[in-house]
């Protein structure tokens, strides 16, 4: 069925770039059509009726007109401005990271309501001063991977299929899950390269990953991870994501800079 010439849409702005004289090219995440790129005509003029509504991370209601290649926004109205989020530099840094993750993993013209809701909720939580943004980032990564079909296997061994014992195990990025020590030790050579990149996974890290992967944010938000456990799952997820995207995420660099007070001090003393 052909779409109407004018249609309504709810969306979150993931990315924004300048195009033409005063227009903006927006990358949106929508519930019904996945990732979508549209044009906001004249949005860079101060008197534009759209400019304030098509800011990054906002949830908006749009009226769009079908264009030849990209559709054009005719009306825009803000549903959630993420005001508290935008007043805090660190949280903006994390919002950029979540938006970049979604931009990289979401498919165009592919309905994904769960992903839309995850991002919408995560941006709302991020604006809450009580939220630990680092924990939210890990929670978001695991749930995003589930919604886009790259869920890491944490419960049974990827090789033998037996339930994972509560001991130190292994994790293989290329296999996409946990391998038990027995399989890694006895079959390292035989599992056609599967176990070659296996690295140890501590019991605490495995428990933390499982918890974050299966629980809702309301349960997870109160969790306190030790620095060592967090560092382990952060590195593991970072490498897992980079492996599937076949590239590194740009916003991670900025997050690192924000997280280290030493970087700021060093800059000052230069």
């Amino acid at each position: 069925m052909a779409r109407e010439r004018l249609y309504r849409l709810e969306a979150i702005v993931l990315k924004r770039s300048d195009i033409g004289e005063a227009d903006r090219l927006l990358t949106l995440l929508t519930p019904a059509r996945g990732k979508l790129r549209v044009i906001a005509k004249g949005a860079r003029k101060p008197s534009s009726r759209k400019s304030g509504h098509v800011e990054l991370f906002t949830r908006i209601a749009l009226l769009l007109a079908q264009g030849k290649q990209l559709d054009i926004i005719t009306q825009a109205d803000t549903l959630d401005t993420r005001q508290t989020l935008r007043a805090n530099l660190d949280r903006i840094g994390y919002a950029y990271y979540l938006a970049e993750l979604v931009d990289q993993f979401a498919a165009e013209e592919n309905e994904n309501l769960a992903l839309f809701e995850l991002l919408d909720h995560a941006l709302t939580w991020l604006g809450d001063a009580a939220t630990n943004p680092i924990l939210l980032a890990r929670f978001f990564e695991l749930h995003l991977l589930t919604h886009v079909g790259y869920r890491p296997q944490l419960f049974v061994c990827e090789n033998c299929g037996k339930p994972v014992e509560p001991i130190e195990n292994y994790f293989s990025i290329t296999t996409g899950g946990v391998l038990d020590p027995n399989c890694v030790a006895t079959q390292r050579e035989h599992i056609e390269g599967r176990a070659r990149d296996a690295q140890t996974l501590s019991l605490n890290a495995l428990k933390a990953l499982r918890y974050l992967q299966t629980r809702s944010w309301d349960t997870v938000r109160a969790v306190r991870l030790s620095a060592a456990t967090h560092a382990e799952i952060e590195t593991l997820l970072y490498r897992y994501i980079a492996h599937h995207l076949e590239r590194n995420l740009k916003s991670v660099e900025f997050l690192r800079e924000l997280r280290q007070p030493s970087v700021m001090a060093e800059r000052e003393s230069r």
Binding site: G52, E55, E253, L255
Partner: protein
């Protein structure tokens, strides 16, 4: 066999490399210049040559200029205690047009945008810090980055970096644009407009 003279195809190719110019526009511009008086083509070529030969970056404010330091930084009539921080050289022009600002400038050449991989290191932030350090006469910094997420992030980053040095920092007011319509204003703009309302 291509019968178009080499000089013509070369100009078409050069035009085609410019942003927003497609093959047809490139051809039209070339054939327009071919028919135009010689002086016009010469004026264009001179202007292009001077652009790269004569324009330099001001060592103080990082604005584009014909001389170093630039005319604004050399002007004794300007208030040296106040520095306005903008994203682009075009923003300097926009503020100068108001004739309301008499201080100096600092051009960052961009704004923090993690998604495009633009971090503080890609902007003239270190130059700004050095400038503040070597000019104790600077009393106020006006943060005039764009009122969008990138500009706000840049302003907040600079605030975090410079505020401990004890310099007064101000941010351009945000509110309703002239010729705008209240009903189309977004919530953040309206909130800021209410916060900054004035006695009449």
């Amino acid at each position: 066999m291509d019968t178009t003279p080499r000089a013509v195809t070369r100009l078409i190719e050069e035009f085609h490399r410019l942003p927003g110019i497609g093959p047809k526009t490139a051809q039209r511009l070339t054939f327009y210049l071919l028919r135009a008086p010689k002086e016009q083509a010469q004026a264009l070529s001179e202007a292009l040559a001077h652009l790269k030969e004569r324009i330099t970056t001001c060592a103080i404010c990082a604005n584009i200029a014909e001389e170093n330091p630039c005319a604004i930084c050399r002007d004794d009539g300007r208030d040296r205690s106040i520095v306005c921080i903008v994203e682009e050289p075009l923003d300097v022009l926009a503020i100068e047009r108001t004739r309301e600002y008499h201080g100096l400038y600092h051009v960052l050449h961009g704004a923090i945008s993690p998604v495009e991989g633009i971090g503080p290191d890609d902007l003239k932030v270190d130059e700004l810090l050095q400038r503040i350090k070597h000019n104790p006469g600077i009393m106020e910094l006006v943060l005039a980055t764009n009122p969008n997420v990138e500009g706000e992030a840049t302003a907040m980053y600079l605030e975090r970096l410079i505020k401990p040095l004890g310099i007064r920092m101000t941010r351009l007011a945000r509110g309703l644009p002239m010729g705008g319509d209240l009903e189309y204003a977004d919530e953040i703009t309206l909130t800021r407009a209410l916060e900054g309302r004035r006695e009449v």
